[in-house]
């Protein structure tokens, strides 16, 4: 393995900026890794070597002329395939967009480029981000780098696996109900869902518009802070974008944990949680305590209502968001149709996979006249109550600590057979989306099968710095940090 791959994104960028490493060398290393592993892992839908080298040489020229290069100068980065890139196909891992080439680039990707990041390819995902395993991808599943027989989690599974396996230095994912944090946990990398409105959604193909948020997947917490700073922006093209002045996230890494109050919801440690995961998370809590944080258990309440509320709201929005895929303007169009309605039906029947259809049906049902109040409105009320419960919790705590997922990565094929069980796997992550809160998944060891475990920290809106502070102190304190390069030693490759 090329030694460069052991570096973090921040370390690599600093060497590229000083000229000790050339941008092309980093790309060579990553593409070599991709050549070796991609056949087994399948992290990418599209790899853009040509574009990446062109970007790298433009950047190198800048550096050679002693011009300012950004904090991610020359860092190869994978972008989830539901984030639009002009001229580079963006499929959402769906047949219906198999050949779709966007006419514009998402704001978050423009920001990454401005920071010097090099886009190397589009990461595999669950079709339209609907799934928790990356198995619903039309292009085939991504495999977990720690056990090829297992899933990497999802929906940002390609992004997480690529970072874990050295097929990229960092990645962007999107998180609607845990789609960044859960695969980060399954693949032993750091993943953050920022506060709703922090990263522009312009160019992110919508799943659940009121819940979606783009975020980083990285080798360690420092990379996470730097990437997050790079992609955070107030964007007038996104009406839900928030103008923030506190996006100097790396500053949070300098502070210790003294005085930090951490709440641990008892509700998160009940039935259904794998004991090995439970003990790893509790150990992580103890590490934070040893670093100066105070711990207290409490009852968050309403945890059981989060899943039905989430699937109602997300599916309702998805059923509407996905209406535009109809074969008229772009994407797949079924052949041999007799009339308009047949074209709509055949195109969508052939173009969407079963999980997407399931959610479109569910969402269409809950919005139907006569059911709207009973389902959609009630779900919105639950959402408001959950937000209130968190507000109460954050009047007492800086962060809430818990597991990311009830178990470590399941076997391939296991989840698709039982979608309800798969939905229940989102129990710890969806509340942050419903309440718009930031949350981070941090690796905290492995189970007896050698599979990574993550713990999750959630903070109040706009308190990403608290999350980064705690996560960074944890990572520093644990020699066995999964975030750096440890993942590859235990990896299957």
């Amino acid at each position: 393995m090329n030694e460069l791959l052991r570096l973090s994104a921040v370390q690599l960028a600093s060497l590229i900026r000083t000229g000790e490493v050339r941008a092309k060398e980093a790309l060579d290393a990553v593409f070599q890794e991709i050549d070796e592993k991609e056949e087994s892992l399948h992290c990418y839908v599209t790899i853009d070597r040509e574009g990446a080298y062109a970007q790298a040489s433009a950047l190198q020229e800048k550096i050679d002329r002693k011009k300012e290069a950004g904090p991610l100068a020359g860092v190869p980065i994978a972008v989830k395939d539901n984030i639009c890139t002009q001229g580079l196909r963006t499929t959402c891992s769906s047949k219906i967009l198999e050949h779709f080439i966007p006419p514009y680039t998402a704001e978050a990707v423009l920001r990454l480029r401005q920071a010097g990041g090099i886009l190397i390819g589009k990461a595999n995902m669950d079709e339209f981000a609907m799934g928790s395993t990356t198995e619903t991808s039309y292009f085939g599943a991504t495999h977990n780098p720690y056990d090829l027989g297992r899933v990497p989690g999802g929906s940002s599974g390609g992004s997480a696996a690529a970072v874990a396996a050295g097929e990229s230095f960092a990645a962007l994912g999107s998180d609607t109900g845990g789609s960044i944090r859960q695969p980060a946990s399954f693949c032993g990398v750091v993943g953050m869902k920022p506060t709703y409105g922090t990263v522009s959604r312009y160019g992110l193909v919508a799943y659940g518009s009121s819940l979606d948020q783009i975020g980083p997947l990285t080798k360690n917490v420092e990379d996470c802070a730097v990437l997050l700073e790079a992609i955070s922006s107030y964007d007038r093209k996104d009406s839900t974008s928030v103008a923030r002045t506190d996006t100097d996230f790396p500053a949070a890494l300098l502070e210790g944990l003294h005085g930090m109050r951490i709440g641990i919801p008892r509700d998160y440690f009940g039935e259904g949680l794998d004991p090995e995961v439970a003990s790893a998370v509790r150990e992580a809590a103890d590490v934070l305590k040893a670093q100066g944080a105070s711990l207290e258990e409490f009852d968050l309440s309403l945890v059981d209502y989060a899943i039905p509320a989430y699937y109602t709201i997300a599916s309702a929005e998805a059923s509407s968001n996905l209406e535009r895929f109809d074969g008229v303007k772009y994407g797949y169009r079924a052949r041999d149709c007799e009339d308009l309605h047949q074209m709509y039906k055949k195109t969508r029947t052939e173009g969407f996979g079963p999980e997407v259809k399931r959610r479109i049906l569910l969402g269409t049902f809950v919005l139907s006249s006569g059911y709207y109040d009973a389902y959609y409105l009630k779900a919105l009320r639950v959402k408001a109550l959950i937000k209130r419960a968190f507000n109460q919790a954050f009047s007492r705590f800086d962060c809430i600590l818990g597991p990311v997922a009830p178990s470590t990565a399941p076997l391939l094929g296991e989840s698709l057979a039982d979608p309800l069980k798969m939905y229940l796997g989102d129990i710890y992550t969806i509340a942050a989306n419903l309440a718009g809160l930031p949350a981070i998944s941090v690796p905290c060891g492995k189970d007896s099968k050698g599979l990574p475990i993550g713990f999750q920290l959630t903070a109040d809106c706009f308190q990403e710095k608290k999350l980064l502070r705690a996560a960074y102190q944890y990572e520093k304190a644990t020699a066995c940090a999964c975030g750096g390069e440890a993942f590859r030693k235990g990896g299957a490759l």
């Binding site: 539901n82 984030i83 639009c84 963006t90 959402c92 967009l97 779709f100 966007p102 006419p103 514009y104 998402a106 959604r201 312009y202 160019g203 992110l204 193909v205 919508a206 659940g208 518009s209 009121s210 007038r236 093209k237 996104d238 009406s239 839900t240 309702a316 929005e317 059923s319 509407s320 209406e323 535009r324 895929f325 109809d326 008229v328 303007k329 772009y330 308009l340 709509y344 269409t364 919005l367 139907s368 006249s369 709207y372 959609y376």
Partner: protein, 475 residues
């Protein structure tokens, strides 16, 4: 036959006169080459997001205040979901749950006196694109230039009872909105569209009958015919003991008959829900006050002022204020120093004649006030006579030419130089001693002959007034 009463409510769509679309920066200009005024947002590209055009709220608010509406100071957009290719996202961003304005009214004047028509609500929404069916190639094409053009929908209460009231209501709305500058409200071009909800009931009864909704009404005349036609159709059904079916019907103005498009049973379920990509619109007290203060002088106020300020006849006032465009033209010309009655005459006689002749709308008048003022001045100063003035005016009307330059260029100027004209007169008199003699002997006909000779000699350009004066002096 029993006596029936007609109950009518209107849904009026008005295209707002913003420069850019409601949710993106694309131009709203009419008539561009297909799909040249589009972007990822108004073509429904994956990942694109809407951003509300503030001017749309401003116009909707202005119309709401002018129609005495209450304002929802926290209003919101909703998605109306339905599949059709002219609608790129397959949902329309509209307002259902919290429309911007509600519970207003306008007063209309009819032959029965004034009457209030209630405004149920006004909401903002986006227009769809345009489908073009190519029979030759047997395919359908779609132009998204109109997709995302801002609309307001004004929903009235079922307060109207006949076509006259409906037309008066529409005229009232049209004028209010034109005066606000919020839209040009052209029925023919579709910038104002009215759907008529109509039911009948036995006169004197209270409850509402089953209604139908009629679409495709492209002129006031078509609306009046459709109302009479639909009223007759419904009464006939009831008289035959059959019921009226709640349905949407399409009016065919050539056949003067409406055809059922869809009935309540196959009504679409639009699955409305709050648009998650847009935030709540907060309309502050200050904003409302600012818009209220900026409201223009509406027709009724204008009429009063014209009477006091310009002293022109009521008939003129009625005509001039019937169009904001005409009233503006009138005021601007008068402001340049032309006598009000002269301006009014040009606008009401020659302008109307040419409009009728060319089948044009008042809004299409293009000549500038300064040109009309210049023309009036030339006539007053005797630089051209009135028949030349009409000819020049026709040119002005057609191509907005500068009348002074045009007269100069074409050599139409009256021989304004009195000395020159006098000399010419003298030679005419010298050549026609018999006529001079006859005139002096009391033969009035001879005078006309002499004037004719003068006009002939000047190729019709001499000002008749000046000719009369000079001729009188010389004779």
């Amino acid at each position: 036959m029993r006596e029936y009463e007609t109950v009518i409510g209107l849904e009026v769509h008005v295209e707002l006169a913003t420069k850019t679309k409601i949710f993106c920066g694309c131009s709203t200009a009419f008539g561009g080459a297909p799909n040249t005024q589009t972007c990822p947002v108004c073509t429904g590209m994956p990942g694109s997001l809407p951003v509300l055009n503030r001017q749309v709220v401003e116009y909707a608010l202005a119309v709401g205040l002018a129609t005495n509406c209450q304002v929802n100071q926290y209003c919101r957009f909703d998605r109306k979901n339905y599949f059709y290719p002219d609608n790129p996202q397959n949902y329309q961003i509209s307002q259902l749950y919290l429309p911007i304005c509600h519970d207003g009214f306008v007063e209309i004047d009819t032959s029965q006196g004034t009457k209030k028509v209630g405004i149920h609500e006004i909401h903002m929404e986006e227009d769809a694109g345009k489908l073009i069916h190519d029979e030759w190639e047997d395919c359908s094409l779609v132009d998204y230039n109109r997709s995302g053009v801002p609309l307001i929908e004004i929903v009235s209460d079922p307060d109207m009872r006949n076509a006259e009231e409906v037309i008066a209501y529409l005229e009232k709305l049209r004028l209010l909105i034109q005066y606000l500058g919020a839209s040009d409200c052209k029925l023919q071009e579709g910038s104002m569209r009215a759907d008529v909800n109509l039911s009948v009931r036995v006169a004197g009864t209270e409850g509402l009958g089953t209604r139908t909704e009629m679409k495709n009404l492209n002129s006031f005349k078509a609306i009046a015919r459709a109302i009479d036609g639909e009223r007759a159709r419904q009464i006939e059904l009831l008289e035959e003991g059959k019921g009226v079916v709640q349905q949407t019907r399409r009016w065919d103005d050539n056949k003067e008959y409406s055809y059922a498009m869809r009935s309540k049973e196959d009504a679409r379920d639009y699955r409305y829900f709050p648009e998650p990509d847009l935030v709540c619109v907060h309309i502050s007290d200050e904003w409302i006050e600012r818009v209220r203060k900026a409201q223009p002088e509406f027709r009724d106020q204008k009429k009063r002022r014209y009477r006091e300020e310009y002293g022109i006849p009521d008939y003129d006032i009625e005509m001039l204020t019937g169009s904001k465009h005409l009233a503006d033209l009138f005021e601007a010309t008068v402001a340049l120093g032309s006598p009000p009655k002269k301006v009014s005459n040009w606008l009401m006689v020659e302008t109307m004649r040419l409009l009728k002749e060319k089948e044009m709308d008042v809004e299409e008048i293009r000549f500038e006030p300064k040109h009309l003022a210049a023309l009036i001045e030339m006539v007053q100063k005797g630089k051209i006579n009135s028949s030349v003035a009409k000819e020049v005016f026709a040119e002005m009307f057609e191509r907005d030419v500068d009348p002074c330059a045009y007269v100069e260029e074409k050599g139409l100027g009256a021989n304004g130089d009195e000395e020159e004209l006098e000399g010419l007169l003298k030679s005419v008199l010298a050549k026609n001693p018999q006529s001079v003699e006859d005139y002096r002997n009391g033969k009035k006909k001879a005078y006309g002959f002499l004037v004719g000779q003068v006009m002939k000699a000047t190729a019709g350009k001499a000002d008749p007034g000046t000719v009369n004066r000079l001729l009188g002096k010389l004779l």
